[in-house]
Amino acid sequence: MDLEEYQRRARTWLAANAPGARAEGASAEDGVVVAKDFMARLHDAGYSGITWPAEWGGQGLTQAEERAFAAEAAEVTLPTYIFSIGLGMCGPTLVDLGTPEQKARHIRRLLRGEDVWCQLFSEPGAGSDVASLQTRAVPTEDGGWVVNGQKVWTSVAQHADFGLLLTRTDVDVPKHKGLTMLIVDMRVPGVTVRPLRDMTGRAHFNEIFFDDVHIGPGNVVGEVNGGWASAVTTLLHERLSISSGVGMSGQRDNPASFESLRKIVDTTDPLVRDELVELHVRTRALALFNAKLSQETKAGIFPGARGSAAKLLLAELINFGADLAVSLAGPEAVAYEDGGGLAGAIALAPAMSLGGGTNEIMRNIVGDRVLNLPPEPRVDKKVPFKDLKVGTQS
């Protein structure tokens, strides 16, 4: 089957099967049921795990088929949000590093939507510097582990069946050398998922508490005390899955976008026009940069760390746009009976600058990996973890 035919069939299938609703807001189990049902049909049709090994439940096809399907999928709305962490990060990590038993146990179920996965790396004291995490895993006699600690900023944890958990297993060595990645069953006793209310007033994320959680043998991903290498694999997949989506959607629904704002402000005022056109310029500049990265990717030139530049620019654009929107609209944008779209936009604006790496981390990445600038001296690489200050310990 040639690629055009493949893409044509994908379009036909999506037209017939895409339910046209995201499960993002679906806290009710109904939404999860719809999502799981859709994933099963997607897998039956051969569109889940297109490039993943056929042996474990994937389709064993190439990037070309995946891009062809993605191009069609971008035209519709699929209820796959709750699977995004599993498909984008956890699954690929297991494909790369999992034991045959782990792959056999999890990958097909993940691709069919039978299990929701979450990623458990960040902690209150370990954000950008994730390797300074404190959640402890202590080995048990049966070859398993007992885990205690707290994770945070965990998406879809309220629906999750499994998690990829990064723990500290040796405190006597430097921080990168005493980590172990474990698969944790999120339904076992001692795991508490608590919604984390953010500054918008809603709970987009969760906190997860582990109290003497027992994990059985056979759940180490990668090597014991080699968890940093495993985490780097996961983070690489995360970065690819973020940068491929950066700035590609959402402007239509964004009340602080140029398109939305020009309908509500006084466009006869020269100062308003000048501020509005600045937003247009920045929006177009980033959109064209993203389009260039996408064209390069199609031509086989992968963006690598340049994707971090796009992510940084998007974070800055979102802050700039929301700020500008409220400033243009004036007092009624921040005190309202109905609507409140612009107030919502300014309240949500910081999110993109904080999630997936702060602006400072992005600038470091661009400087180090795109411009090949010399690294900063590091003070944390040789100190045993137990002697290192982390978080806000004093």
């Binding site: 009976e337 107030a343 309240a347």
Partner: protein, 359 residues
């Protein structure tokens, strides 16, 4: 020109600061902002009973302390820094308007001011400059129309209404035909309401030319008062992130040791120094050099409003993930800063006004 505090002003600052630290610390602010009225009436009473803040610039003959606007700026900087919820700022605006109309206003001002100055009546003014509002006076002297957003409009005991004709009327909280519809506000620590007027009885405070010139100066003073609050929000935001930057570790050292953080904090400090100098200057002009006031007031809004939001925003961002949580106070400062920036109209209007005065 006086840009540094007198020793009395240092004492006032210390008194207000320690009062607020005791009576309205951050945990209390959170509790009060989620309560039914959005503030604690007992705190407001003590604020006026013990410190006399509502009557600070009200002339002594009208029951106030007869203080200057430089004193008021010191007090509002502290209430801003503490994100004090409640009707103090709205009431101060009302006292400014009434005090400036004392010459033109006759009996109404004399009868209304003492209760407000004493803190027994919370008051407000609407529409503020840069805000929409369309209220007219009918043939029988009642008010018709609406004001889309009034500070503490739902809980103030007295509302000063500026009509489309530029006259000022006072409406009692319980007046017939007065509708008060609470609004959702970005700033969680300060309520607003939409007010509607349908044959609403009102008392004339001032009208015509006298009202116009009094109001013009009053609204400049309002701009200076707001800038003082913004200075407090700016300062508190900067203090918070400077303190955190010394404590929070990343990659084995405090985040404040990284140039990315340190240099941004240095730039924020530069904004603080300038915002502070501008607020002191504007407050001095308010007291001592009326001719400079319009320009100083426009300068204060043009500079301080922007600086305050930028610092509050960066203070939130530099906190990292924790700054995005509901439980951390960073977003309260961020939201207050953005709300304050547009309280007296879109920022471009302040620049335009300043341009008209200086170019």
């Amino acid at each position: 020109m006086r840009l540094v505090l007198s020793s009395e002003q240092h004492e006032l600052r210390a008194a207000v600061r320690s009062f607020l630290a005791t009576v309205s610390p951050p945990a209390k602010v959170r509790q009060d902002m989620e309560g039914p009225d959005g503030h604690d009436h007992a705190v407001y009473r003590r604020l006026n009973g013990e410190l006399g803040l509502a009557g600070l610039v009200v002339p002594e003959e009208h029951g106030g302390a007869g203080g200057g606007h430089a004193d008021l700026a010191v007090a509002l900087e502290e209430t801003g820094a503490a994100l004090l919820p409640g009707p103090l700022l709205a009431t101060v605006f009302a006292t400014i308007v009434l005090s400036e109309l004392a010459g033109a206003g006759g009996m109404a001002v004399k009868e209304l001011l003492p209760g407000i100055a004493a803190g027994t009546t919370a008051a407000t003014v609407g529409p503020l400059p840069g805000n929409r509002g369309r209220v007219t006076v009918t043939a029988d002297g009642t008010l018709e129309g609406e004001i889309p957003a009034v500070l503490n409009g739902a809980d103030a005991g007295l509302i000063l209404v500026v009509t489309g004709g530029g006259d000022v009327y006072a409406v009692e909280a319980g007046a017939e035909g007065l509708g008060r519809i609470p609004l959702t506000t970005l700033d969680l620590t300060r309520r607003q309401a939409r007010l509607t007027f349908a044959a609403t009885p009102a008392r004339l405070v001032a009208e015509g030319e006298a009202a116009a010139s009094g109001l013009a100066r009053a609204f400049d003073l309002v701009a200076v008062a707001l800038a003082a609050e913004q200075l407090g929000v700016l300062r508190a935001s900067l203090d918070a992130i400077v303190a955190y930057s010394g404590l929070r570790m990343a990659f084995g050292r405090p985040i404040g040791s990284y140039q990315a953080v340190k240099h941004k904090l240095a730039d924020m400090h530069c904004k603080l120094e300038q915002a502070d100098a501008i607020v002191r200057y504007a407050a001095w002009a308010a007291d001592e050099s009326p001719g400079e006031l319009p320009e100083a007031a426009a300068l204060a809004q043009a500079y301080v409003g922007r600086a305050c939001f930028e610092v509050a925003r960066d203070h939130l961002l530099l906190h990292g993930g924790i700054g995005f949580t509901w439980e951390h106070d960073a977003h309260l400062y961020y939201k207050r800063a953005k709300s304050d920036e547009v309280l007296l109209g879109p920022p471009r209007t302040h620049r335009t006004r300043l341009a008209d005065l200086v170019i």
